[in-house]
């Protein structure tokens, strides 16, 4: 039966990878939209005026470290050390919340300045791209809470470990997407 479970996990992880690829394509479409609409500000504020790079740097480093602590948590799960795993998951959750808080405060600051998503196509594309990523982050955070419950409520069987493994994949994937948001949206936005 042991060999059968290994095959079972392989199939689940393979399917989850294909789901991640489809999600990557959705982000590719949002990126294409953002790049095409980068200059259609319709007289409104452009990226250069709006973005404050200092908070963006903190966001990026927070997400990067949370990605690292998430892999540490997976490492602990493989060692079957439950409390250390929960600790690292809690740290990942905290860093994720920091990321969301900074992003949320940046959005509300833009709204106060009148640069909301109804102002121009550029701002619509910006809010949608960064907002969809933010939505994925909140789904990831919800999944982390469930993973912590899973660690305590359920035995660390292959089924549960595989579920947590897919969570770690998802969280790394979110950091991959954020690299390009940081560079394309904020980087080129600030430079041009």
């Amino acid at each position: 039966m042991e060999e059968n479970i290994k095959v079972e996990d392989d199939i689940k992880v393979f399917g989850f990878w294909i789901y991640l690829m489809t999600d990557l394509i959705i982000f590719a479409v949002l990126f294409a939209c953002f790049i095409v609409l980068r200059n259609s500000t319709f007289g409104g504020p452009s990226g250069h005026e709006l973005f404050r790079m200092s908070s963006v740097l903190i966001e990026t480093l927070a997400l990067l470290t949370s990605s690292f602590t998430c892999s540490l948590a997976m490492f602990e799960i493989q060692q079957k050390r439950k409390n250390m795993a929960t600790f690292w998951f809690a740290v990942t959750f905290a860093l994720g919340m920091v990321f969301l808080f900074i992003e949320f405060s940046e959005f509300s600051e833009l709204m106060d300045k009148g640069a909301n998503w109804q102002r121009s196509a550029f701002l619509s594309a910006f809010f949608t791209l960064v907002g969809t990523h933010g939505l994925h982050i909140s789904v990831g955070l919800l999944w982390i809470i469930i993973a912590i419950f899973r660690v305590w409520l359920r035995p660390l069987s292959a089924f549960n470990v595989c579920n947590i493994f897919r969570l770690v994949l998802f969280w790394h994937f979110l950091d991959l997407v954020w690299i390009f948001i940081f560079t394309v949206v904020y980087g080129t936005g600030h430079l041009l």
Partner: protein, 104 residues
């Protein structure tokens, strides 16, 4: 067996950290490396690509499957699709916008 993965993760984290900070510095004041805007963008994009590759190898264990590498195959073909989506869209839309700029 797991010790090896831990060292991979640590290396991946440090490399990504450095790349992010380097990109940030270029964005903040490109003059530091006496780059004008166009070149700066090309550099930060290549830094991003490098970080993308590092993170997919060191964090996502890409390419270390037993048997035929299906995940790697799908990953690379999806990157091709993404390149097509982004670059062809830009190529088409730039041509459309350029052709239809109001003359006056």
């Amino acid at each position: 067996m797991y010790q090896k993965t831990l060292s991979l993760r640590i290396f991946g984290f440090i490399a990504s950290f450095i790349l992010t900070v380097a990109a940030f510095l270029i964005i903040i004041h490109p003059g530091l490396f006496h780059l004008e805007n166009r070149a700066a963008i090309v550099i930060i994009l290549s830094l991003a690509l490098l970080q993308f590759i590092i993170q997919s190898i060191f964090f996502l264990d890409l390419g270390r499957e037993t048997g035929p590498q299906w995940i790697l195959a799908f990953f690379i073909s999806t990157l091709f699709i993404i390149l097509i989506i982004v670059f062809f869209s830009i190529w088409i839309m730039d041509h459309l916008n350029y052709n239809m700029m109001p003359m006056s």
